[in-house]
C-alpha cells in the first residue's frame, strides 16, 4: 500500500475542515419535516416592462423528442396567438426555450435555470412522469408554476403544477365504463410498458374490475422502448382468450405489438384493443391498416367538431404543413397557455400566489370543448372521448361522456378505490 506523504494529508485535512466549517450554518428541518421558510429563494420575475417571460421546457433531443417536439410547436402557436391578440395583461410574452433532452435530471436542471436565471413567470412542458417527478421539487422549493400537458397516472396534486391533461378518472375509468357497458367486456388482458403510468393504471383497473365483476386474465409489461418480449406477450394475450386488451404500452413497443397482433390473426373484431397512449401522430409509424377499428381513450381528437378545433387545426396546418396532425397532448399544451392567461387576468397579476388564488373556475373554450380549472387539485374538468382509428389514420369519436368530468386525481369519489395505496403527500 502507498505510503502517504504528510503535506498531502495536510491538504486533504484542510479541505475536510473547510467542508465541515461550512456545515455549521443553514436551516435544519424541524419535527414536522417542513423546511423553514426563511431560506427560500425570492421570485425574480420582472413585470415592470412591457413584456413578461415564460419558459417552454420540452425534450428536443433524445427518445422523447418524437412526442415533445409536437407539444413545443403547439405551445409556440398558442404564444403567437396570444401575443397577436395583445398579450397577457397588456404585456407581450417573451419565450425562453430549453431542451429537457429526455433526461429527468436535465429537466430538473433546466427548470431551475428557467426559474432562477431567466426569471420566467411560468413554465410549460414536461411529458414523462419521470420528468414531472424530477421537476416537482424544483417548482415547489422555488414556489414557481409548471403547466404539465399530458395525461398521467394521477394520485398527485401539487399546488405548483397545473395538470392540463387527463387524470385517471377522465380517461381510464371512462374507458373501462365503455368496455363494460358498450362492448359487454367481461374479461380483460392488461398490456403495458414497464413504468409508473401503466403500473398505476393497471392497479386502478384491477380495483375497478374487482368491483364490477370483470376478470383480469393476464397482466404483462414490456420494458420501455424494447420490442424483444412483444412476441411472448402476444402469445400470452392470444392464449388468454380475453374479451379485450387494455393497452398502456408507450412509444415504439406499440409498433411491434400491433404488427405481431395482426400477424397471429388477431384484429379489432376478434379481440379489440383499447389504447390510452396512441394518438394521431403515432398512427402512421404503427401502420393504419394494423390499427384500423381499434379503440383509443383521450379527451381530444383532431376530428373533434368544434369551431375552436377547426381554427386550431387550420392554424396548426398552416404553420407546420398539411401533413401535420394534432393530438391530445398538443391540444392540452395549447390550452394550458390560454388557461394561464385566464388565471393571470383573473388575478390581475403574474404573482404565483395570486394566480393560484384566482385559478378556481377559470375556463376556456378549448378545441376539445369547454374546460374549467379546479382550484383545489389544479387539474381541469374535461370531457372523455372514446375513439376508433379510421382508414385515414385519424380517430373518430364513438362515445363521449355527458359533458366535462370533474378531475379526481386521488379517486376519492370511487368507493372501490378506497383500499388502494395512495401517496399521502397529496391524497
Amino acid at each position: 500500500m502507498p505510503k502517504l506523504r504528510r503535506r498531502h494529508v495536510g491538504a486533504t485535512l484542510t479541505a475536510a475542515a473547510l467542508v465541515l466549517g461550512t456545515t455549521a450554518c443553514g436551516s435544519r428541518v424541524d419535527d414536522t419535516g417542513e423546511a423553514s421558510a426563511a431560506g427560500r429563494a425570492e421570485s425574480c420575475v420582472d413585470t415592470s416592462g412591457d413584456s413578461v417571460r415564460i419558459g417552454l421546457l420540452n425534450s428536443m433531443s433524445g427518445t422523447m423528442s418524437i412526442s415533445e417536439t409536437t407539444v413545443r410547436r403547439s405551445l409556440e402557436l398558442a404564444v403567437e396567438e396570444v401575443n397577436a391578440d395583445g398579450g397577457v395583461l397588456g404585456k407581450q410574452l417573451e419565450v425562453v426555450t430549453e431542451d429537457g433532452a429526455s433526461e429527468p435530471t436535465v429537466f430538473a436542471e433546466r427548470a431551475t435555470k428557467l426559474i432562477q436565471s431567466d426569471c420566467v413567470a411560468a413554465v410549460f412542458g414536461g411529458w414523462t412522469s419521470s420528468s414531472r417527478k424530477a421537476m416537482l421539487p424544483v417548482f415547489e422549493s422555488n414556489d414557481a408554476l409548471l403547466f404539465y400537458p399530458v395525461q398521467y397516472e394521477g394520485l398527485e396534486a401539487s399546488q405548483n403544477i397545473f395538470y392540463t391533461g387527463a387524470t385517471t378518472n377522465q380517461q381510464i375509468i371512462p374507458a373501462l365504463d365503455y368496455l363494460k357497458d358498450e362492448l359487454g367486456v367481461t374479461s380483460l388482458h392488461l398490456v403495458g410498458s414497464d413504468y409508473v403510468f401503466p403500473r398505476t393504471a393497471n392497479a386502478i383497473i384491477k380495483a375497478y374490475a374487482e368491483e364490477h365483476g370483470i376478470e383480469i386474465v393476464g397482466e404483462d409489461y414490456e420494458p420501455l422502448g424494447s420490442t424483444e418480449g412483444i412476441q411472448t406477450i402476444v402469445n400470452r394475450v392470444q392464449g388468454s382468450g380475453a374479451d379485450a386488451v387494455f393497452n398502456t404500452l408507450n412509444g415504439d413497443s406499440n409498433v411491434s405489438f400491433f404488427a405481431q397482433y395482426a400477424n397471429v390473426g388477431l384484429d379489432a373484431e376478434a379481440m379489440p384493443v383499447l389504447s390510452v397512449s396512441i394518438a394521431e401522430e403515432e398512427v402512421p409509424g404503427i401502420g393504419v391498416e394494423k390499427l384500423e377499428g381499434q379503440y383509443t381513450a383521450w379527451n381530444y381528437y383532431q376530428t373533434v367538431d368544434t369551431p375552436e378545433n377547426e381554427e386550431f387545426v387550420a392554424a396548426f396546418k398552416e404553420a407546420y404543413g398539411d401533413d401535420a396532425v394534432t393530438s391530445d397532448p398538443m391540444e392540452a399544451a395549447y390550452t394550458s397557455v390560454y388557461l394561464w392567461k385566464g388565471m393571470v387576468e383573473a388575478a390581475g397579476s403574474f404573482d404565483v400566489a395570486d394566480v393560484q388564488a384566482a385559478a378556481d373556475g377559470v375556463g376556456f373554450d378549448a378545441p376539445e370543448g369547454p374546460v374549467t380549472v379546479n382550484g383545489d387539485n389544479h387539474h381541469i374538468a374535461k370531457t372523455a372521448l372514446i375513439g376508433r382509428v379510421n382508414a385515414e389514420g385519424l380517430i373518430d369519436t364513438v362515445w363521449s361522456s355527458d359533458g366535462p368530468i370533474d378531475p379526481d386525481p386521488c379517486l376519492e369519489g370511487y368507493d372501490w378505490a378506497a383500499g388502494m395505496d395512495k401517496d399521502e403527500t397529496y391524497c
Binding site: T63, S65, I66, T69, D194, D220, Y221, E222, P223, G225, S226, T227, E228, G229, I230, Q231, T232, I233, N235, R236, Q238, G239, D252, V255, S256, A259, Q260, A262, N263, V264, G265, E281, E282, P284, G285, I286, G287
Partner: protein
Amino acid sequence: MDAVLGQLYAGLSLGSVLLLIALGLTLTFGQMGVINMAHGEFLMAGAYTAFVVQQVIGGAGSAMLIALPLAFLVGGLLGVLLETTLISRLYHRPLDTLLVTWGVSLMLQQLARDVFGAPAVEVRAPEWLRGNIEVLGVPFTTGRLFIVVLAVGAVAVLSAVLRFTSLGRRIRAVVQSRGLAETSGINSRRTDRVTFFVGSGLAGIAGVALTLIASTQPYMGQTYIVDAFLVVVAGGIGQVRGAVLAAFGLGVLQALFAYSQSVSTAKVLLLVCVIAFLQLRPQGLFSVRTRSLV
C-alpha cells in the same frame, strides 16, 4: 404444450435477429479485434434503406426483395467507409475503436433524426410476410419465419464462403495468424476491408428483417447492440458456430424466462446468466486455440 411451442418459436425468432446482428460483429471482432459500436447504426441504415426503397417503388413485396441486397450494399459501404477512414488507424488499439465507433454511432443517430425525423416510419410488410401458418394449433407468423430463414441462410452462405472459397481461406488465415498470413503473401489489409464489408452488410440485412417486427427509428440500433455483443462474447469471438449456438440459446432462454417471469425480469436474468457464464468460461463456448499467453 402450445405455450411452450409458441415460446420456443418466439425464442428462435429472437435468436435469429440476434444472430444476424452478431454474425458481422463476430467476424470483425474475431479478425481485427475491432469492437464496432456503430454496428447498430448500420442496422438502422439497412432498415431505412427498406423504407426508402418502399417509398420509391411502392409495392411492398418487390420493395422487400430489392431492399435486401441494397441494404447489404449500404451497410457494407458504410462499414468500409468507417474502416478506411478511422478503424484502420486503430488496429493496435482495440479499446479505442470501441470509443471512436461509439462517437460515430452518436453522429449517425442524429443524422438519421435530421434526415428522416424522430418519429418511427412505417415499412409495410408484403402480403406474403403477414399472417401465419398454423401448425399443431400454434400460429407461426410468416414474418418471423422469414427472419429465421434469412438467418439460417446467412449462416449457410457465410460458412460456405469461409470454407470453400479462396476469400474464405484468406480470412481464416488472417484470423489465425496475421503475421504468417502476410508472410505467405496474403494482403491482410485488403482481407480486413472485405471482412468489414461483409460483416457490416449483414447488419444491413438484419435491419431490413427488423422492419418486420420492430419499429424503424433512429435509435433502433441501440436496442440490440449490447445483446449482440453478449452473443459474440458468449459464443467465442470469431466463431460462427459459437454465435449460432449463443444467439439461439440466449433467444430461447429469454423467451422462456419471459413466459415464466416477466419480460423485464427475463432480460435482467439473462444478462446476469451471461455475465456469470463468462466468469466460468471467459473464452466463450468455442475459441480459436492459440499459443498466446491469454
